[in-house]
Symmetry: none
DNA sequence: CAAAATACTGCAAAAATACGCATATTCTTC
DNA sequence: GAAGAATATGCGTATTTTTGCAGTATTTTG
């Protein structure tokens, strides 16, 4: 492995987690701690990150994201993505809908776990293609310009041939009694199809979206198996979902 | 093997994998490491890649530059793309295979002409999605990591439902008597299917690729309707194709 | 404060590189 | 064509870079 590659890897990790541990990287890349230490020292001198005792941290966390609001949302999505990772097991077939939360999840999929991923989302496919351990299958069809996912009969048709282990179904709105709703009719059709193409449906959803309502209905809350939010399990926002035979993470 | 060929090969590898190891390339091409070292040094000075200890890495690896892939042979490819544009008419359905030349073509598609584009190529789809006048339909399927296009039965199946007006079929090698050939078997199957999915097949091809030969055959030269190169029509390299009932641009 | 974890230093082996030079190949020029 | 120039390639050797290891110093933590 080239030194340059290690540098890229470290910077990427720092970019995602905002911090890295010396020993973790050394284990991950199968090189000695000293090597990583030297790498981090170089990157520190090049002002690409900040060296600290035991590892390194991102130096531009506040500088990179100008609006404090967005950081917050991104942090939530990171949290959700990390929780979602725990549901995935080696060798599984997973189905990823579009959305930024799922994109965060895709970025974090571990690079040593063999997986098969189906997705109709262009940005997610691009992200996943960068990982050599993941077999990516794109659900083809007409591409929607604003959501960047494939829609239409052809895509739904392709979905009908799939039975994935888990579907991560990003959603715009979730409501305890009204269920999951969407703004776009075509996307609703896609998501309905995706639900039928997986044994287990998990919905990653930041708390802002809880309780909101859109024009069209995808399904009831009882049709999904788990809801992942950034909240702690005892948060009152989740009360409405608590006796609904649905896993809350 | 010519030096230019090696340079192309190296740049291609870097383009695909973002990195190359000196020793790998030397083994692959059966030349000494010194030769490759010198090649990489030249390419480094020409700012086509970045030389590092042990190999080389892509220039745009860490800068977030999704569009500016690589500038290799760009002028030639631009010329070809411009010529290809002349074949496209308002309202047509076009089918674009993968490859950097087609990517250039996609980038140049006029933003006022209504078009429907089918493609199995991830980067091309991303490019086209930016243009609001174009309806993009992605040919889904298993994504090949190297070529970033969808391959396999599912993709070929989807192609069988299409009859486009023109197919722009990028090719790795074209030979007057041996026809179009490819390195990868799966991609050959895709391209065969694409030929059958269009009324007219046009092959954009930079002159370096003329006369070269790969492992597997896609089709004979007589099966394509036009060949677009960056050369002038009277160039002697094209002599072999001149009495073959094929349009030369 | 003491134990554990982490950092630094010097060193040696291995790998990669630079350089000079001999040989082979290609390109000119006549 | 053929001689000569220019370029490209491969090999041996000296030099530099990288990397892991061991010993010692420093920081963290309970």
């Amino acid at each position: 492995m080239l030194k340059e590659e290690r540098h890229q890897f470290i910077l990427n990790e720092v970019g995602i987690h905002n911090r890295v541990l010396l020993t973790d990287i050394a284990n991950l890349l199968n090189v000695s701690v000293d090597t990583i230490r030297r790498d981090i020292k170089e990157l520190h001198n090049a002002k690409q990150l900040k060296k600290v005792h035991g590892g390194a941290i991102s130096l531009g966390f506040n500088n990179y994201n100008p609006t404090g609001k967005k950081i917050y949302s991104l942090e939530k999505k990171s949290l959700i993505a990390e929780k979602a990772l725990g549901l995935i097991k080696e060798g599984q077939v997973i189905l990823l809908s579009g959305g930024t939360t799922n994109l965060e999840l895709a970025r974090r999929l571990p690079s040593r776990m063999k997986l098969t991923c189906f997705t109709p989302s262009l940005p997610i496919a691009v992200q996943l293609l960068g990982k050599s351990n993941i077999e990516v299958i794109f659900i083809g069809g007409r591409l929607s310009q604003d959501s960047q996912i494939a829609i239409g009969g052809s895509a739904i048709n392709m979905l009908s041939d799939i039975k994935a282990d888990i579907c991560f179904l990003g959603t715009n709105s979730i409501h305890a009694t009204e269920g999951l709703t969407e703004f776009d009719w075509e996307i609703v059709q896609m998501k309905k199809a995706m639900i039928h193409s997986a044994r287990k449906v998990v919905s990653p959803c930041i708390s802002e979206k809880i309780g909101s309502l859109q024009r069209y209905r995808i399904c009831g809350v009882e049709e999904i198996d788990a809801l992942i939010t950034e909240l702690e399990p005892w948060d009152t926002k989740l009360d409405a979902f608590k006796n609904m035979n649905i896993q809350l993470l």
